[in-house]
Homo-oligomer: 353 residues x 2
Amino acid sequence: MKPVSGIDRRTLLSGLALLPALSGGLLAASAQGQNVTPGAVLPSWNDGSAKRAIFDFVQSTTNRSSPSHVPLEDRIAVFDQDGTLWVEHPIYTQVMYCLDRVPGVVAAKPELKDVEPFKTVMSGDREAISKLTLKDLEEVLAATLTGMSVEDFDAGVKKWIETARDPRWKRPYIELVYQPMLETLHYLRDNGYKTYIVTGGGQDFVRVYSQQVYGIPPEQVVGTAGGTKFGYDHDGKPFLTKEPKLLLNDDKAGKPEGIHLMIGRRPYAAFGNSTGDREMLEWTGAGAGLRLKMLVLHDDAKREYAYGPAQGLPDSKVGTFTPALYDEAKSRGWIVISMKNDWKRIFSIDQFD
Amino acid sequence: MKPVSGIDRRTLLSGLALLPALSGGLLAASAQGQNVTPGAVLPSWNDGSAKRAIFDFVQSTTNRSSPSHVPLEDRIAVFDQDGTLWVEHPIYTQVMYCLDRVPGVVAAKPELKDVEPFKTVMSGDREAISKLTLKDLEEVLAATLTGMSVEDFDAGVKKWIETARDPRWKRPYIELVYQPMLETLHYLRDNGYKTYIVTGGGQDFVRVYSQQVYGIPPEQVVGTAGGTKFGYDHDGKPFLTKEPKLLLNDDKAGKPEGIHLMIGRRPYAAFGNSTGDREMLEWTGAGAGLRLKMLVLHDDAKREYAYGPAQGLPDSKVGTFTPALYDEAKSRGWIVISMKNDWKRIFSIDQFD
């Protein structure tokens, strides 16, 4: 994926996106939707039930004569990020950022050099780092994600995200987004849906690149969020400092709670890939009318990764997709997306077969 | 003000609002802004520095050849609600709602009948009720704003807000919105600004009527917010319960903190009316480029209310506008709006002089 200037792309997209909305809203007898085919709007999807479900959902909810029609202002779609929009394996990109920030933190506070878990991170010993406990990682996260002004944090993430590369693909992480999901985001937006990211990752972290990478503005990113503290510098200029105080743990039950806090209404479509997304899909599905609930299954070891442990796939430390979640999906009519079978390509850089 | 159906109004407005955005974004040489006069877009404002400041700000920030041009996606404007968009005197509308809810709460929990402060509220003795302490009121607020599902809460507010009337004007509270501020909201939106409410009032409360009354969708309301708790009913259907746990106290320093949490970027325009809005205006003004900061002064005892105590106006329990705030406004170049002098009419129901 070639990142486009956020400004130009958004101006263009918001303009184009409104044309169908305008015609749909003002002209009941418009030709909206006519001559649109699944292949034209979702070119990286193979034919099958997943592609058909997305297409049928959009057609039904935007057709004013359909019993499933959804008014323009109610069209909300939510997407988990890690494992749903981009690669999360073997470890979340944000954790890589935090580990990369440790030398900077230690330089500012040399007394941490000989203190665990910083000592292990500084050693560069990948084997030892991969064995850090959750409590160790939380300490690293707190030290690298809080204590600075919101502007300094944004600048640090912006610099890192443009240069850091995934070790397997040797490409920037922001190029490892799933092309079929980008097409889904665009297709929904072109039909008046407001697209949100609802992530267990850090809200402030994802907001730095969400516009550039997904076409989603910062205010439409809901994530795990800490508090900030308002204060003044020595010139009397106000600033906000990121505090180690958790306001929203946007995972599992925290996802519908975060949606209520940040959006205030129930989505019509929800996309996830793990047990962390279960409650978000349940909450979406409990609304009246047609709702789209989809889960990405990572079953493509060759082109990406294979993990579950649903469907006999290997177990995973991140993005767990349990057999119980698979059963719930089947019983509630949620659609499971097979990366291997449903996606013609994974990344925009991939060639079609 | 005659409330229009939220759906139709929004569909129409979002369509109309995009036309200048489209032309401004895609056609650099468009005629955007030509032939627009302050009187045409702000008809309820008298000529003067306040009206001129709003007009000049919009013209400068939307003109692509201006050094103050603001890209479309950065156009964020924030508005306090109580005392800035609608009447707050002598007591916040939401407090009236909570007092009106007490009989319902007592009916469900009869043991509260003889317990203060519920006993006093049930007595209907206005004199005694007006003397309740802040702690008493907080107890009333907690009992009437939490403990129910988010849907039950919304339904209760919706029913009340359509029928409850202000004792002085004998009109629904939602008709007591300031016509000049509605025009300001529309003018900003027509020029690509995303308008937000940033209120010390309850986020869930204001979201119920924000679309209908202000044309602002629920997700663009930032307010004092409590947590919710995800759970399942006996049929396994998920629901969210409003909890008495404060997540965001959206007043004073909490306003810039709330803006960061809910929007994630600094506004270009901020409107308030009291010491509770001071930090929000400071935070807005500390950004680079042209920023509009305005404070409504309630100096019109005849058409609305007069309170300060700035400028020799009487002191007030709500919406305090101190002499220190007035001095800060003058020294920082914030514009003070005189309701008496700057507004041709207060409400849409008022006749022009």
